[in-house]
Every structure is written in C-alpha cells, then in structure tokens.
C-alpha cells in the first residue's frame, strides 16, 4: 500500500494532499492544470522534497519530515512515466530500458531489455533513438523502461496527452489492461475525466492543491461534491438560489427543492440545499422537445431555451443551449432530425428532478 500525506508550498497556493492506494489499484489524480497533481507525483518519487509530510510504500517509510527520513529517489524504486516520457535522447530504445536493469549481467542486459520491449510490441524498434519514434512508440518505451526496474509503485504523468487522438484510444486500452495486471499501487495524473475513468479504479479530484472529492468515476458523476467536480465530470453547471427549501407540491411523491436560476427560469430537484447553489445536470439526462409542448412524462424540469450549436458525434447529437446560462444536451441523431434542430431555434429542455444535483457554491 502506498500512503501519502504531503504539504508543499507552490507558487500560487499550498498543496495539502493525503491519499492512500492499495496494491494493484490505480488512483487517478485528476484536476485542472496547475492544481498540484504533478507535484504529488514528484514528491512520491522523491525528486521533489515537500516542506512537510509522510510517504510510505509497502510498509517502508520513504519520507517522514518529522523523523528526518528522506529516502533518495534511486532507493525508492518508483517507476515514473514522465509527461512527455523523458526518454534519454542519446540512448537507443533498448539502452533506455536497460538503464534501470541493475544487477543484471552485462551480457544479458540487451536480451532482457528487448524482452521487455517485446511486451509492448516494440522489439523491432529496439535500436532506434527516441527522436525517430512516434509518440505512441515513445510511450511504450517509457512504460517498458519504468517497469524494467520492477518498481514498488508506478507513477504516470499524463501518459496519453502527448499522443494524437487516434493512437490515444488504443494506447489507453493497452494501458488499462497493463494497470489491471499490475500488483503494485499506481498513481496516474490526468486533466481528462474520461481518461481518469478509463484508467483509474478510483478518481481523486484535486483543485487548488487539495483533494476535493475521491470516489469511483461513476460516484463522482452521480454525486459531485462541488460545482468544480460536476463541471469536471462533464455536467452542465448552472447557478441559482434556492427559493423555499423543500416546499412540497402535491402530487409529488417526495419533497422537492426549487431553485431560481440566475438569468431566469426555475427548476426542481430532489436534492436538498439552501442559499446560493450550483445545479449540475449531465447532457445525457436532458431531452429536447419542440417549443410550446405540453409537459408530459416524468420530467419535472422544463426550460425554454435557445439552440446555440448542433454537433454530430457518431450517432449522437451534442446540442449547445442558452438557458440563458449555457447548457448542453446529448440526444440521438434520429430525435435531432425529427426536431430539425438549427441554431437560433427555441425549444424546451426537460430533465428529471432526480437527475439534478445540487451543490453549495
């Protein structure tokens, strides 16, 4: 188990993070750029010394500022995949991998390194310099190099962000499989929620140097603890004020909270709250009906909105709406065609009260 509790002063704010990762599990540290994610990785690897903290892995203390323990990075045994891989440019791919093979006889090093490269389908490129490799190939060499040392923990800093969109999908799948088979704790840094959801068993969202929420990707999407987390998981976030808390309306089966949105419109939610709030709703919860439709079905929220943009993604349509706060809906291509959606059109956006999350702001 990897256990981390560190405090470090960054340029704009103090980083204060505590987290634990079980063996064989992958924790995705997600959050915006400059939130302090990479600093956490660097502190775990030992290439950055936090002002205070305790880090231990597999029962061995790596850092304990109170007891004056600070194990050198080369003795911690962290596999570290750097953001743009940091492959040694003056060494061929196999020599990059062999660099960490200590205690292996010189004659067997090439064989061992090439075998590791072969695990990632990279043995044809064993003699190539990093500069001659594509982004995806470099990523695989970097993974082979990090795993060559049989690390006690694996750290990955934005392992997919240097790849183009096409190789990212396949590299992501491969990496997910690799992480499943790994029996040491791993920590992955990403600014992309989908990547965090794909690769992390759990996601910890960091903002402003603190973990604001931790849970599975599904938990985060269903119950975001803050407007930031909701926005991060891809939900539309609207701001407003609670009108009268839990004023129940017949024949509602449960008490509803009504929120007056900034800029106009009122919505209902099953969540409780008071005062100034943020409301989050995921695009796939919203359906679109022609303007003037009489409310039917179970949706309690109906807003008159203007269509701003219509973008087809596969067999789905992403519809940008002005409510007048920005809102996004994801509907099927078919229903979009039936509605003949076009920018400037006025429509009704509907969603269930139960699909509406409420967070203080």
């Amino acid at each position: 188990m990897l256990s981390v509790e560190v405090t470090a002063q960054l340029d704009a704010f103090a980083l204060e993070v505590a987290l634990t990762v079980e063996d064989g599990r992958c924790l995705a540290l997600a959050g915006p750029s400059g939130a302090g994610k990479t600093t956490v990785l660097r502190a775990i690897a030992g290439v950055l010394r936090p002002s205070r903290g305790q880090i231990s892995c597999g029962g061995q203390p790596w850092l304990d500022t109170d007891r004056g323990i600070d194990v050198a990075p080369e003795r911690r045994g962290c596999g570290y995949v750097f953001q743009d891989y940091a492959l040694f440019g003056h060494l061929s791919a196999w020599r990059n991998v062999a660099y960490g093979l200590r205690g292996v006889p010189r004659a067997q090093r090439r064989e061992r390194a090439v075998a590791l490269l072969a695990r990632f389908g990279m043995e044809p490129h064993a003699d190539a310099r990093p500069l001659r490799l594509s982004g995806g190939e470099r990523q695989r060499v970097a993974l082979a190099r990090a795993l060559a040392t049989e690390p006690r923990a694996l750290l990955l800093d934005e392992p997919l962000s240097a790849l183009d969109a096409r190789s990212r999908a396949s590299a992501g799948r491969e990496l997910a499989g690799l992480l499943r088979d790994l029996d040491v704790p791993s920590v992955l840094v990403t600014h992309d929620f989908m990547e965090a959801a794909l690769l992390g068993d759990e996601v910890a969202v960091i903002d402003g140097g603190r973990v604001v929420q931790r849970g599975t990707a599904a938990q985060l999407a269903a119950e975001p603890a803050s407007a930031f987390v909701a926005d991060f998981t891809g939900a539309a976030v609207l701001t407003g004020d609670v009108l009268a808390a839990r004023r129940s309306e017949a024949p509602a089966p449960e008490p509803l909270t009504r929120v007056a949105l900034d800029g106009g419109g009122t919505i209902a939610t099953t969540a409780a709250g008071e005062g100034a709030v943020a409301v989050a709703v995921h695009p796939w919860e919203i359906s679109i009906e022609p303007a003037g439709t009489v409310a039917t079905g179970s949706a309690r929220n109906h807003l008159d909105v203007e269509v701003i943009s219509v973008t087809a993604i596969g067999n789905r349509l992403r519809v940008g709406l002005a409510a007048p706060q920005p809102l996004a809906a994801e509907i099927t291509l078919d229903s979009g065609e039936q509605l003949a959606l076009a920018p400037g059109m006025r429509v009704v956006a509907s969603w269930k009260a139960a699909a509406t999350r409420l967070m203080p702001r």
């Binding site: 660097r42 690897a45 290439v47 080369e74 911690r76 570290y80 750097f82 940091a86 040694f88 003056h90």
Partner: protein, 273 residues
C-alpha cells in the same frame, strides 16, 4: 503600370539588394579573417616549413606547447566539468556572483593575469610562503606555464560546459534517479553524454586559447627555451631577428591548432554514437 504594381516592383527590389548586402558583408569578413592565415602559409612555403621543423628550438617549443596544454586541459576538464555541472543544476544564493567570478578571467588583459598570478603564487605572493614550504616552485618553471594556461583557459570550458549542462532536460536527471541511478551515476551516464557536443566545444575553445596563450605565461613563467618557451613565446623570440623563422613556426602553430580542434570535434561526435 499603376501605383500598386510600381510599389510591388520596388518591394521586389528591396528583397534583392538585402541578401546581396549580407553576402558582401560575409565576404569582407571572411577575407579579412582568412587573409593573414593564408599569408603565413604562402610566405612560408612547404620547404621552409620542413626546414624549420628540423630546428631544435622549434621542436622544443612545439613539444613544450603540446605537453603543457595537454596537462592544463586535463586539469580544466577534470575540475571544471563537475563545477560547471553544479552551477548548471543547482540554485543557491550568490550563484550569479559565482558565475561572474568564474568568467572574470575572460575579460582580464593577459598582462593583468600574469601580474595577478605572480601576486598570488609568486615567491612573495599571497600563497608564496605556503608553496615554498611545500617545495613547490612555479615561477620560471614548466609547472608555472601550466598554471598560467589553466587560469586563462578554464573559463572558456566552464562557461561552455555550464550552458551545455543547463540545456539537458532536467527530467532526464529525474528519470535516471527513479531508475535507480545515484546522482554521480546520473552525472556520468546521462548528463555528460547528453551534454557532450557542448563539452567538446568548450574543450576545443579552451585548448585553442591555451595554445595561443602568450602574455600571462611570459610574465609568470618567463621564456626559457625547453622549460617555459611555448610556441607563441618562441615566435615572439624570433620575430625581431628571424622573421622567416617566426613565420614558419606560426604556420606550424596554425596547423597544429587546426588539427587539434578538428580531432577533438571528431572525437566528441564519435562519443555520441
């Protein structure tokens, strides 16, 4: 032709004469810089060159120059490279001051360097007593030549090496550490090979400077044939009485310097493979 076309034609004219000006400037600079070197070889002639090689005072000077510069460059590389690494990779208070102090000999007139060395290491200098007690004699000795060469040549290598180390991606050092390499191993296996082109350039510059060193050596070590008279000093020695001999020796120095720089560069390129 209307006004717009006329303007376009004039602009076309501008873009033609400017590259021409750049070319002329380069031609003038090249002629001026190469002419004296060409003149040395034209005036000497191959026969005269070979004759002067038979002159024992010339071979003595050449052997001494090669010996002293090799020792001096070895010292500069062994001490200067780790020092430059420290300056390039660590941030500490007073770092800028240290960098400036290290570079100071670059702008010192050679005569000042000679006087300074005498005042520091001469028999009555700052450390003169200590050196005398240890029976180390520098002034008017071959060792003194090496000291003078190290003093004037070291900043060239230090500066170049510092720039070269600073240009190596700092994450390579971190990656090396996470892969189990100590800081010393990282320095030897990652930083030095990655910075090799810059280090070689620094060595070439320092060696060139050492081969041509004149003023500080003359003042600190004197000009005694076989002991402290390096090639530049031998050239100056002959200059008044034997211009042709001075010319021949100059040609040899140019050839040796060029050969040294070339081989150092080739060596550095091979080291990267």
């Amino acid at each position: 032709m209307d006004a717009a076309q006329e303007r376009a034609r004039r602009r076309g004219g501008v873009s033609r004469w400017f590259p021409l000006l750049l070319g002329v400037a380069l031609a003038v600079a090249l002629t001026f810089l190469v002419l004296p070197i060409v003149a040395i070889f034209v005036d000497t002639g191959p026969g005269r060159l070979i004759d002067s090689l038979g002159d024992p005072s010339a071979t003595d000077a050449l052997a001494l120059s090669l010996e002293t510069t090799t020792i001096a460059i070895a010292i500069v590389v062994l001490v200067g490279t780790p020092a430059a690494y420290l300056l390039a990779t660590r941030r500490f208070r007073g770092r800028e001051l240290v960098v400036t102090l290290v570079e100071l000999p670059l702008v010192l007139p050679p005569a000042v360097a000679g006087i300074g060395l005498l005042a520091a290491l001469g028999p009555r200098g700052l450390l003169g007593g200590a050196l005398g007690g240890a029976h180390i004699q520098l002034v008017l000795q071959t060792a003194g030549v090496v000291v003078a060469l190290v003093f004037v040549a070291a900043p060239f290598h230090l500066r170049q090496a510092q720039t070269a180390f600073a240009a190596v991606d700092p994450r390579w050092r971190e990656a090396s550490r996470t892969l189990g390499a100590s800081e010393a191993r990282t320095f030897l296996r990652i930083a030095i090979p990655a910075a090799m082109p810059g280090l070689v350039a620094g060595i070439a510059l320092a060696w060139g400077r050492a081969l041509g060193e004149f003023g500080a050596t003359l003042m600190f070590a004197g000009s005694f044939r076989g002991i402290t008279q390096t090639v530049p000093l031998a050239i100056y020695d002959r200059f008044a009485t034997d211009f042709d001999g001075a010319l021949a020796l100059s040609a040899i120095l140019v050839a040796v310097s060029a050969a040294l720089l070339l081989s150092v560069k080739l060596l550095g390129r091979d080291a990267l493979r």
